[in-house]
């Protein structure tokens, strides 16, 4: 088998590329699938968390005396019940349980375990916290101002020369790029610069965070939770509780959506700490309000982008300044925003500057391609306007500047084979691109990029005596990955898909697996699955060789059978996997394949989206009429699930672009912590989302797979902004484009005589 691009294109697959039923399909429609909140343990208590009503306050004291004497209360914990941790986990710990200061509305300050939810709630009201209220700041630019209230005395901006002497809310200044932007801009015929703003949004998974934690008197712990990465949860919880990693076993439940938001811990260490104190299992389930107030939304941003272009469509330079607030702790994805901002374009002169800022908001968590959608919104909006200024088709302009195999990326490395041009060409050829538009309607287009990750992965593939296969992976399945893994294992082994059962194993059963994030699962776990299957094949061939009494080198594996390699090897009837498995006890014991790998070579991925929108000039309301996603998947293992990722990302983008936003009041409290007031799209908000899968194989994966989960949310904000701006007749630079903002834009343009 060859890994070269051409080889991959020629390879004929039997199972990969088909659309079999997923192993959890039936459980999900019958209600059997067990999610985070569905677990119960004997003697289980209910845990509830007391949260700060203040955006910023010093905690002078916490007195739980009254709560502890309430009948039915079994334990109260505060930050004192957690271990000392290293600098790398200090923020995680402080976010899980406030120490000297409450840093945002909703910040956990204490927790109780009681015999019922009612008692636990009552106990929360009896805990007395003495707060000294401090001035707060929730807006990114306000937080950067010299007079802003400072959240952390120990944050002094790094990455600037000379190093400042006083603390501030600006954690770090990043810079990426090459060339000389001033020189590039001087060569341009047209230069456009705009300021942009985006509101914080939430991943909006429908399943709230939930877990059951149990620590026995011997210090051995178990945790059942909904997470994208139970190995990381295990390591982190063990550290926060001061336990040996091997003393904690974590089982990942079915997960009701994560999109990056379930890559960290909020309640899990609290449940374990409560359980350790109470001596009984403790279940914590977040309410929807808690999810909004105290899990990890995205950054809100302020950005400035300046791009110059020649009349012939060549971009001469691009420059961006990005400011992202990441909530109360360092680590907004502004660096990723800066790296991805211009990644679609092959530029001689490019520079992005990025500021990571803290504010009195919940610590942001990853959300699908963290940082990239906002940056793409700003850059692709300017590109769109440049195209119309020079009178060039927007796809043509992008094609003239698109990166290809060998292009120098704006953030450093050179690209290998990439599929941006292919997506642009497919979009241009799509019937959507030339369909007629009516009055008050506009069409938008935008491209987007995401790196995709690899990372630590460990799988085990066990061949059972009856010829069926149990595949244990360590990456929670968030979108059908068990099916894709089963397909790859079956393809490699040459057996039927229905012979492979894929499960997500607990943390005691496999080596470390990185989180299901960064679009890494189908790539990394898939790669590990294929290698584990090959490992098993080697052993199967060995057993056949033993049976036949020939050298293992003289056996080959073809279509599910061990065969003698050639005439010289001797003449033996082929042995099927099932036949070899049946006699395994006699030929050396169980047969299993393994793979432990730190997967590198995750292929980057590009997408181009087309959107039609209509705007009501009287109310400012925008409606999405048509949507087409074109994206490079490298190789689609299960095309339905690839399409599912494309559609899901696009629709989350629709919500982000049009309606979703965190609204903070003057008091620094979140005003809309419910699904009624934080609007995610419903069925009637959307047209059917058309998808086109482009396949430019990734040479880093045996079948050519690229991650697909995240790129799909990168172009929508920009594509929709371009469509709505075209329909409204005015450039909209602030998200979400809710009816009041659109109407204001139309009014202002009318006042300026533009519309």
């Amino acid at each position: 088998m060859t890994n070269s691009e051409t080889g991959l294109k020629e390879r004929q697959f039997k199972i990969v590329g088909t659309r079999p039923l997923r192993p959890d399909g039936i459980d999900k429609v019958t209600g059997r699938a067990r999610f985070g909140a569905d677990m119960a343990a004997p003697g289980m208590l209910v845990g509830k968390i007391l949260r700060s009503p203040h955006a910023h306050a010093r905690i002078r004291s916490i007195d739980a005396t009254k709560a502890l004497v309430l009948p039915g209360v079994k334990a109260v914990v505060t930050h004192e019940d957690f271990a000392e941790v290293g600098a790398d986990l200090q923020d995680v710990l402080e976010n899980v349980m406030a120490q000297d200061k409450a840093l945002y509305d909703g910040h956990a300050v204490a927790a109780v375990a009681a015999i019922s939810a009612g008692v636990a709630r009552k106990a929360l009201r009896l805990i007395e916290v003495d707060y000294e209220i401090l001035p707060h700041v929730t807006d990114v630019e306000a937080a950067m101002a010299a007079e802003a209230p400072v959240l952390h005395d120990d944050i002094v901006t790094s990455g600037v020369e000379p190093a400042p002497k006083t603390p501030s809310n600006v954690v770090h200044r990043h810079e990426f790029g090459h060339g000389d932007v001033a020189e590039g801009l001087a060569q341009a015929d047209v230069v456009i610069e705009h300021d942009f703003k985006t509101a914080a949004t939430h991943q909006g998974y429908i399943e709230p965070h939930a877990c059951v934690g149990s620590v026995g008197p011997d210090g051995q712990g178990e945790l059942w939770c909904c997470t994208q990465g139970h190995f990381w949860v295990r390591n982190t919880c063990a550290a926060l509780l001061g336990m040996d990693v091997s003393h904690l076993r974590v089982t990942a439940s079915e997960i009701g959506g994560g999109f990056g938001g379930k890559t960290t811990v909020f309640i899990d260490p609290v449940a374990l700490a409560l359980s350790r104190k109470a001596g009984r299992p403790v279940k914590i389930v977040m309410s929807r309000e808690e999810v909004f107030r105290a899990s990890g939304p995205t950054s809100s941003t302020a950005m400035t982008v300046k791009i110059g272009v020649r009349r012939d469509g060549r971009i001469t330079a691009g420059e961006a300044v990005l400011k992202f607030q990441g909530g109360a702790f360092a680590g907004s994805p502004v660096d990723l925003g800066a790296m991805t901002a211009f990644a679609c374009y092959d530029l001689e002169h490019v520079k992005t500057v990025a500021y990571d800022v803290v504010t009195n908001r919940p610590k942001q968590a990853a959300y699908r391609a963290p940082g990239a959608p906002m940056a793409a919104f700003a850059v692709e909006s300017v590109i769109d306007e440049l195209a119309s200024k020079i009178g060039m088709d927007p796809i043509e302009l992008r094609l003239k500047n698109a990166v290809e195999n060998g292009s120098q990326s704006s953030y450093g490395p050179k690209f290998g084979p990439v599929g941006l041009v292919e997506t642009l060409v497919a979009a241009r050829e799509h019937e959507h691109y030339t369909a007629p538009l009516g009055a008050n309607q506009g069409r938008g287009i935008a491209s987007g990029f995401w790196f995709n990750f690899g990372g630590q992965t460990c799988v085990s593939l066990n061949i059972n005596a009856d010829g069926s296969v149990a595949l244990a992976v360590g990456t929670p399945d968030i979108g059908g990955s068990r099916a894709s893994m089963g397909q790859m294992a079956a393809e490699e082994l040459g057996i039927g898909y229905d012979k492979v059962r894929t499960i997500v194993a607990d943390t005691a059963s496999l080596g470390y697996n990185d989180i299901s994030e960064g679009s890494r699962v189908t790539f990394s776990t898939g790669l590990a699955t294929i290698q584990a299957a090959r490992d098993a094949i080697g052993k199967l061939c060995g057993r056949a060789a033993q049976t036949w009494g020939i050298s293992p080198d003289a056996v080959v594996w073809e279509d599910g059978y061990a065969r003698p390699a050639g005439a010289n090897a001797g003449e033996f009837p082929p042995l099927s996997l099932a036949e070899i498995a049946e006699t395994a006890a006699k030929t050396g014991g169980p047969i299993a394949g393994h793979c432990e790998v730190n997967a590198a070579g995750a292929g980057v991925s590009f997408a181009t989206h087309l959107v039609d929108a209509e705007v009501d000039p009287e109310t400012g309301r925008a409606k999405i009429l048509r949507y087409t996603v074109v994206q490079d998947a490298g190789k689609a293992i299960h095309p339905s699930y690839v399409e599912g990722q494309y559609q899901g990302g696009a629709v989350q983008g629709v919500g982000w672009a049009l309606n979703e936003e965190y609204i903070y009041g003057e008091d620094g409290r979140l005003q809309n912590p419910s699904f009624l007031d934080y609007r995610i799209p419903v069925a009637s908000d959307l047209p059917m989302i058309d998808t086109v899968i482009v396949e430019v194989p990734n040479p880093g994966h045996p079948y050519g797979v690229r991650g697909v989960g995240e790129t799909s949310i990168v172009p929508p904000l920009a594509a929709i902004a371009n469509a709505v701006s075209a329909a409204a007749g005015v450039r909209l630079t602030e998200l979400p484009m809710s009816p009041p903002r659109v109407l204001r834009g139309i009014d202002e343009a009318a006042a300026n005589g533009k519309a």
Binding site: R22, V29, G31, E207, E614, E618, R621, L676, V682, A683
Partner: protein, 491 residues
């Protein structure tokens, strides 16, 4: 008095002594029954993950409706059949058509929303004989959030279930006779009273019993569909001592028409009344189609929307514009008042202790009266109005002979635009009069700024809606609405 709540869980009769009267159906299912297929995504009626189906006797047949288990109190189940996702499988263990369709179209990604969608689609499948149009599907699904799929595969499943299913052979239809008998066997005229002594829940079955109970317990909380009250308990964590539920009172669930009016009992749900009202006021029918989502409309009542007195309730503005009358009852005494007079101030209505809303009378529109209603919200379905507007207009001899304008979201109560009406009354229906009426809106209303919209936006849009109404009534074919089906969408 009967001290147990009786209902069917699937086909099994249940008789419960309920000590916590505001325990939700969801907590009962997940906590007490360990039926965990029904999910909790929000606990406030917004996400549909908790959707269950209730079967109720209706003209000798069982009518199946989807509701949110998270905001329904357990005792309201009395006399109904409760179906959850666990009840759908066939006796031989194979999947119900709805489930099969969902599997075939890959309708689940993470699958957390799936049981809720299945139950909504199950209710559609039971209630709608013919394959639904996209809009019917959207209406059926608007109360269910899915964050993973973008809805495409779920919509495909709603279509597919009609292609693969044999509706007439459906197990629930085959068992219908038995279900009717079981439901009839548990229905009676006794007042149900459950609770723990200090907290009580009454569910009378007759209007006179209700009147007596409300008079005897003037501080009791009257409960209709619970789509407002449910949230007081699940979200605001309020403790309600005495509750009087009106949902079992047959007389209050009645609705119908006379020659000149439409009569709507206080316990009539939006879903029940929608068709009748839409027949006379198509725009009001459409507005109701956008009120909450189907789960909310199956439980929520027009009476509750009025009685709740919220400035952003969607029914008062159109009902006021249409000239509705409210009928109240206290013991044996009855009185009636124009609906607008009921709303005194924010949180204050013209209702005496011991009094309750009995009925609403809506006059049928005169020939020649043009009626329009508009709802402005960020999302088309399942969203609270920033502004709700309704207009009733009759022109005689080129002049405005009758005009009523009412707005929601513009003041502390639903309110008529008196000044604007005066600018129009008796004047020609022209650009100039409309412009002066728009200007007068600033005297009628000083709206507030909140997270839904700014004061400026509200005032601006209120004027634009009046202009839109003018355009719609003067230019026959003007395309003024971008969202929804044909002429009736509200934006």
């Amino acid at each position: 008095m009967r001290e147990q709540v009786r209902f069917l869980l699937g086909q099994e009769p249940r008789e419960l002594t309920v000590t916590d009267p505001t325990m939700t159906v969801l907590d009962y299912l997940r906590g007490e029954q360990r039926r965990c297929g029904t999910k909790e995504g929000c606990g406030e009626g917004d996400c549909g993950a908790c959707t269950v189906v209730l079967g109720r006797l209706n003209d000798g047949r069982v009518r199946y409706e989807a509701v949110n288990a998270c905001i329904q109190f357990l005792p309201t189940l009395d006399g109904t059949q409760l179906l959850t996702v666990e009840d759908l499988k066939r006796p031989d263990g194979s999947l119900h058509t709805v489930q099969q369709a969902m599997v075939e179209t890959d309708g689940s990604q993470c699958g957390f929303c799936t049981p809720g969608f299945i139950m909504s689609m199950f209710a559609l499948y039971q209630g709608t004989p013919n394959p639904p149009q996209r809009q019917e599907i959207d209406d059926c699904l608007a109360g269910n959030l899915c964050r993973c799929t973008g809805y495409g595969p779920i919509i495909a499943a709603a279509e597919r279930m009609y292609a693969i299913g044999d509706r007439t052979g459906d197990a629930f239809r085959r068992l219908a006779g038995q279900t009717v008998d079981s439901l009839a066997a548990i229905s009676d005229q006794e007042t149900v009273c459950v609770g723990d002594g200090s907290r009580r829940f009454f569910a009378p079955a007759t209007l006179d019993d209700l009147a007596d109970l409300v008079l005897a317990h003037p501080d009791a909380q009257i409960l209709a569909g619970g789509t407002d009250i449910g949230l007081w308990v699940t979200k605001q964590l309020r403790i309600l001592d005495t509750i009087i539920y009106i949902g079992r009172v047959a007389e209050l669930a009645e609705f119908g028409e006379t020659d000149s009016t439409i009569e709507i009992g206080a316990a009539v749900t939006y879903s029940a009344a929608m068709e009748l009202i839409a027949g006379h006021y198509p725009d009001l029918g459409e507005l109701f189609r956008r009120l909450g989502a189907v789960q909310v409309r199956n439980a929520g009542t027009i009476g509750g929307n009025i009685a709740n007195g919220s400035p952003i309730g969607d029914s008062p503005p159109p009902l006021i514009a249409a000239g509705a009358t409210l009928h109240l009852r206290r013991g044996k005494d009855r009185r009636s008042l124009p609906l607008e007079a009921y709303f005194i101030d924010y949180g204050k209505q013209d209702r005496q202790p011991g009094e309750f809303v009995e009925r609403i009378t809506l006059p049928k529109p005169d020939a020649g009266t043009q009626f329009r209603a508009y709802k402005i919200s960020k999302r088309f379905d399942q969203d609270i109005s920033a502004v709700c507007a309704a207009f009733a207009l009759r022109i005689e001899n080129g002049r405005v002979a009758h005009i009523r304008i009412a707005f929601g979201g513009m003041a502390a109560t639903p309110k008529r635009a008196n000044q604007a009406e005066q600018c129009l009354s008796g004047r020609p229906w022209s650009e100039a009069s409309v412009a002066s009426a728009i200007a007068a809106l600033a005297q009628d209303f000083q709206p507030i700024t909140d997270m839904r919209a700014s004061a400026d936006y509200r005032l601006r849009v209120a004027g634009n809606l009046l202009r839109k109404f003018f355009i719609e009534t003067t230019q026959a074919s003007a395309a003024t609405r971008v969202v929804g089906a044909g002429n009736f969408a509200h934006v």
